[in-house]
Each structure stands twice: as structure tokens, then as C-alpha cells.
Symmetry: C2
Subunit: 205 residues, 2 copies
DNA sequence: ATTATAAACGACATTAATGTCGTTTTTCAA
DNA sequence: TTGAAAAACGACATTAATGTCGTTTATAAT
């Protein structure tokens, strides 16, 4: 079914495996998923899977990076849209994401991050840190931009707001993963988040 | 070393095992810890440990409940202290807790909760849900009380603020577990949290 | 002292996953 | 069309943890 093959073929195959893995991680989370599960889901042999990925940890890391890559929908200022509106929209998007948490990788992500508790591992995967800092930077820049255009009157340093925003979303994600979206009252909390952001950003309307 | 023994003895022993388990969970987290680890740490045989706990999940649940029990330091209005001051104090306490996350069970807690992803398990451990709801109730009551005494002018429903507060703390905990307290700038974020709370609670000073 | 009880012990069978490696199969290039 | 390269296969040895259970040992009551 496949030897001495183009790079293109290998890329295709890899993506195929990553997608199977994604399905596995969505249904089982990170901790309970195994290489065996991925083999079964992808309908591929042990040897084949190991030819592409050394172990589950590496596999997950690649999946994470692959998925992030797809999410090019980053926080870039959009011409002709008010910054505050953009914030609102983003918050709604997060809400949707959280509400269908069972169909996303969010939970597996948290499990994966938590599993890297050793400093050793943290350092061997700089991407993890980078990922967070990139998000901070993007949000910071966005808030700074909004200030420059006179749309925001920040009450706190922009990076503080950025980090805080990330924490709130992550926390709501975590709690919702435990307890379900009804118990944590996601939409109510999103209101509270918007209220906070309004106070911090001081949107001039 | 111990047969036909008083209830008191058994309680002591159990607590001893729980404390050994606690040390294990603090250093290894929940997912990577094993019954074997606990046996080693407690210096006790397989049979002994299993006589007290069926499996790691039950063991953790008991530990969780035991620890919560110790935490009687709950959010009860203190006479002669301003409510807003009490909020401030509590936030500081959380900050300390988060900053020394490597010496606490916080991370293991998150791992444990995430591991209960099945609805089945969620239901068989009602304590998990209760625990969250209890915290919500306590905070809600506190905010309501502060309103009654005229110290707060709430801008949002008290339960919304309560849940939101919990999310922020949990999120910061999670991110700090991944990245360390320096990277997430815990103290800066605590400032941001206090800012938000001030806006939501409208403390009359 | 003696003895019934049950706490603690630790060997064992079981299960499940891992990573490796020799073999088979397929493809591409000559 | 043939053969070298390597993709895919799957059996296997290894490792590690689990929960059980027959045995040993300490305790407390008589």
C-alpha cells in the first residue's frame, strides 16, 4: 500500500494520521488515549504509526501545532470594524467553543499541558510557552492599537488585560470540562467577562 | 503490626495513608501517580493499602474530601471587617496558593477532575458537583450580605460574580501550572481581578 | 497463657500498553 | 520487467500497574 513515495504522499499520510488522532483525543481526552487507539482509528499498523510519530506525546504536540496552524483567524485589527465590536465577537466565539467542548480538543489540551509538569519537558517543548506568549502578544497589540485609534481608554496595562482575558477563558473552559455548560452557566459568565472588559478597556463607543 | 484494632486506630492509619498519598500527588500529580507509589511512600504493603482504598480514584476522592474538610476557612462574613477588605484578603490568599502551586494539590485536582470526563463517573461522584456549587453558594451569600449591609452596589447578579470569580482563579491556576508563576505574571493578574471585582461589586468604601 | 480475629504482608495472575524489528508488500525508476 | 528502496505489517519481548488471595503476624479479650 505504499513504499518509496513522494514527500507529498508522506505529508498526506501524516495529516490523515493526525486527523484520526484528533478524533481519538476528542472522544477520549489526552490521558486515556493510546497509540493503539490511534492505530485502530486510522486503520493502520503499529509499524506505520511509529514510522511517523515516536510516541503519543510527540504525536499530540504535532497535532497541536497543526491545529494552531489552521486557526489563522487571529486577532488582527479589522478595518471598518470597531475594536470593541471585535472584542465582543471574539468573546462569542469563545462561548460557542466552550459550549461544545465535547467536540473539541480543549479538554485534551488541558490534559496534555498538565501532563508536562516536569521542567525538563517544558523546556524540550518551547512551543508550549511560545504559544501562550504569542496569544498574549496578539491581544496586547490589539488593545494598544485600539488605544492608539482612540477607541479604548485602558485602565490597566494592555498585557495585564491580555493575560487576564486568557485566564478567564481557560478557567471557564476547565470548569465546564468538569461540570458541563449548564452547571457553569457559560453565557452568564460571558456577560460578566464582557462587563469586566468594558471596565478595563474603557471603550469610547 | 496491627490486627483486631479500635476504630480510632483505623482512622489514624487511614489519615496516615492519605497523607502519604498527598505527598505523592503533590510531586507526581494525579495522572502519573500509582497505588504502588502510595505504598512505597507510606511504607505499607499492597494488601494494607487496598484494605483501605479500592483504587486510586477512590483514594483521591477521599483525599479531596479530607482536605476540603481541613479548609474550614470559608467565606463567612466576619464581624468588624469590611466586606471589600475580606475580598481583598481572599484574593491575596489565592495568589499565595497559586504561586506555590508545586507544593499544593491544585494541579492534581485539575488532573483528577479532567479524568472524570465520563458522565457516568461524574454522576457516581456527586461530591464533585456539590463542591463547586457549595463554593458558588458561599460566595453568592457573601456578596448578597455585603449588599444588604450597604457595602456593595452589585452591577451583576451575585451568582454571576461568584461563578466568574471561581473561573478566573481556576484559569490562572491552570495556566500557572503549565507555565510557571513568572510567565503568567500572577500578581499582575490578581490586580486585574481586583479591578474587575471592584467594578462588579461597587464597594461603597 | 490462649485463642479468635482481622490487619498486614507479598506472591501471583492478569491486563494493557509500549517500542522494536524481521518480514512482506508496494512503488518508482532504470 | 525487474529490482532496490522504503512503507506498512504484525509478532514479540518488555515493562508496569492492577486487584486478588492465601499466609503470617500482632492484638485484645478471656
Amino acid at each position: 500500500m505504499a513504499p518509496k513515495v513522494s514527500d507529498e504522499y508522506k505529508t498526506k499520510k501524516k495529516i490523515e494520521l493526525l486527523q484520526a488522532a484528533k478524533r481519538v483525543f476528542i472522544t477520549k481526552g489526552y490521558t486515556r488515549a493510546t497509540m493503539q487507539d490511534v492505530m485502530n482509528e486510522a486503520g493502520v499498523s503499529r509499524g506505520a504509526l511509529y514510522a511517523y510519530f515516536d510516541n503519543l506525546e510527540h504525536l499530540y504536540l504535532e497535532l497541536l501545532q497543526f491545529e494552531d496552524q489552521q486557526d489563522v483567524q487571529f486577532f488582527t485589527p479589522i478595518a471598518g470594524e470597531l475594536s470593541w465590536q471585535q472584542v465582543t465577537k471574539w468573546v462569542s466565539k469563545q462561548q460557542v467553543e466552550i459550549e461544545k467542548i465535547e467536540q473539541t480538543l480543549s479538554q485534551a489540551n488541558s490534559e496534555f499541558f498538565l501532563s508536562l509538569r516536569d521542567q525538563q519537558k517544558q523546556q524540550s517543548y518551547p512551543y508550549i510557552t511560545t504559544r501562550y506568549e504569542k496569544m498574549v502578544d496578539v491581544l496586547t497589540a490589539f488593545f494598544a492599537h485600539g488605544t492608539a485609534t482612540g477607541e479604548f481608554k485602558l485602565q490597566l496595562p494592555p498585557e495585564a488585560i491580555a493575560r487576564y482575558l486568557i485566564s478567564v477563558i481557560d478557567g471557564l473552559m476547565l470548569d465546564t470540562a468538569h461540570l458541563g455548560a449548564e452547571k457553569t452557566k457559560v453565557s452568564e459568565q460571558m456577560e460578566a467577562l464582557l462587563f469586566s472588559l468594558r471596565a478595563m478597556l474603557g471603550p469610547v463607543q
